[in-house]
Symmetry: C2
Subunit: 366 residues, 2 copies
Amino acid sequence: MASARTPRTADDGSGSRRKSSTAATLGDVATHAGVSPATVSRVLAGNYPVSRSARQRVLRSIRELNYVANTHARALAGVQTKTIAFVLADVRGPSFAEAAHGVEQEAARLGWLCLIGTTQGDRERELAIVRLMREQRAGAVVLIGGVADADDYNEQMTELAYSLRAAGSLLVLCGRPPLATGVPAAVIGYDNEEGAYAITSHVLAQGHRRILFLGGEERHTTSLGRLEGYSRALNTFGVEFDPSLVEHGVFTRASGYQLTKKRLTGARDFTAVFAATDVMAAGVYAAVNEAGLSVPDDISIVGYDDIELAQDLRPRMTSVHVPYEELGRTAAKVAADEDHKREDWPGLQVTLKTHVVVRDSVARLD
Amino acid sequence: MASARTPRTADDGSGSRRKSSTAATLGDVATHAGVSPATVSRVLAGNYPVSRSARQRVLRSIRELNYVANTHARALAGVQTKTIAFVLADVRGPSFAEAAHGVEQEAARLGWLCLIGTTQGDRERELAIVRLMREQRAGAVVLIGGVADADDYNEQMTELAYSLRAAGSLLVLCGRPPLATGVPAAVIGYDNEEGAYAITSHVLAQGHRRILFLGGEERHTTSLGRLEGYSRALNTFGVEFDPSLVEHGVFTRASGYQLTKKRLTGARDFTAVFAATDVMAAGVYAAVNEAGLSVPDDISIVGYDDIELAQDLRPRMTSVHVPYEELGRTAAKVAADEDHKREDWPGLQVTLKTHVVVRDSVARLD
DNA sequence: ATGAAAGCGCTAACAA
DNA sequence: TTGTTAGCGCTTTCAT
């Protein structure tokens, strides 16, 4: 049991404040246990037979030295790191936060770490971050939320999907449309069109015919999907789609407020507002209230996402519930699943259900 | 210009979908530029003289090969990674999200990456995560939000502060009290006591004398600080502190709702409620409304944090504004600042200002 | 079942 | 100014 290096104890129990000695390495554990580094590595990986006695000694040394493997050394030696990178536009969006929470929860449960990056909705920045995450050898990169659609962007993202896959990693698209078929990425989504169709139908069923649609950026996939559902519902009810009833802004309270305020000056040519997100809808409420109008007597309002806020607005807002947390959890599960590394992995597409939650923000028109 | 390895181009321009070849390494760049690896490393680090011509060739090769340094190799070679780890209880808390956003923004601006971990308010998990982040060689670890106070916990965290510092990293406490003096950690905070004092004084000045305080966990530092301010204000106004007017729960809407509901059954012995967070206050509103009572005519309500929600509640809620985003930004700045690595770094404590935002949720009592 | 040794990509001390 | 070389801590053949 030769010992070239002095084993470094993690705590000398002296209780005195001192700089902790540098952390124990695998080599230290090996020395301490009287085995070779390879053996320690083997018991750690558990992918190779090790004698009972050796294993026990190693385990004991690990405990005593308070050993924790160095992730970087591992990564360098070629092992995929158990970190899942997720990138979103802004952590402050409640629905994003919900999804992020789902990812984080599930990742933690599986013993994975989370890297996070935000893009402020900037496509270039998003691409840059995904590249960065690839260099970090993230085990998977999860993209949360829609994007403003664009061809060259899609092309670059597709390229990244392939390159991630080649590196043993995986691109997970969460809450946004798939790339072209055959591209090796997992897609976890919900149906924007369907939910929008359902809630618009609900409004129409209450007798409304002029419904103002407040969307995000014009080419934003989420906004687009919701607009389509809105439009299809009109169609079903035999109401002609009026482009002048569609406004584009961004997914913030301020934007919802401004857009509404603008439409409220002059003749009012709508009886209801469908805000593409609940956060925007909060701005609609504010503008309507400020104009001295009442919800829903003067104007009905519906949103999308069903975040907690929907219950705090007065009157409580009717909205489309999206299982964001579940979305995130699923993404993490897929990311952590080794299955996608198989040569013949067929790709994966999951679509979660949404449903309308009816509250008190839509008046019946007779 | 010998070339043992075939230089690997990043893009063959063929436009066809193919697995990207494995990424170029520093060695590839060296070969391509006809210099030694050391030279490449030098131009990258910029900490050593390199001839103009060599530098230019290297830079060009880097561009052509699309080279990006491997973080893990760097970390292993002993360089601090430019990643700032931040750990908080739950990304879904709006004020946390705000702070997280601040950290993320500033970090990105400085070219740093963010690692995130959540604890669900569990101290053990928090310690475990901080240890993990240390193993990840994070350049700094930022702890956001209060914790339930406990001696042994403080001791372990102190130990971690030293060990982080020894590893060239830094512990940043954000929105929580300092550890013992002399402990090498940065503290970025705001004054919970002061803000609570101010808003309670405001309520008292409106004539209220029986104010229900709804706090979080009993030993939670944030809750504690706010309770102290509440208590001092009572004292200033010559009102005796009544322990039966203090309830403890957790910082969620549901908790605020339940606590209020409980206090609303039977004789009502308070005219105002001070919820320790806005999110809890939303629950208070809900319970009060549900009991058929009116805010502020029957019951006045104030919160703390001044998140966006405060403006969406009706009537709009009076609250204490906390510059969370600024808090996060400051934390990131401090974390990224090399200054703290100096041997004689004196430690750092920043305290941000809060202020009361008066809205419509407090009635004047005469 | 176990150990020796090479190598992952980078940095830094030492030579030249 | 530049190159050579020895690690950083781990995994993984290849021997034994």
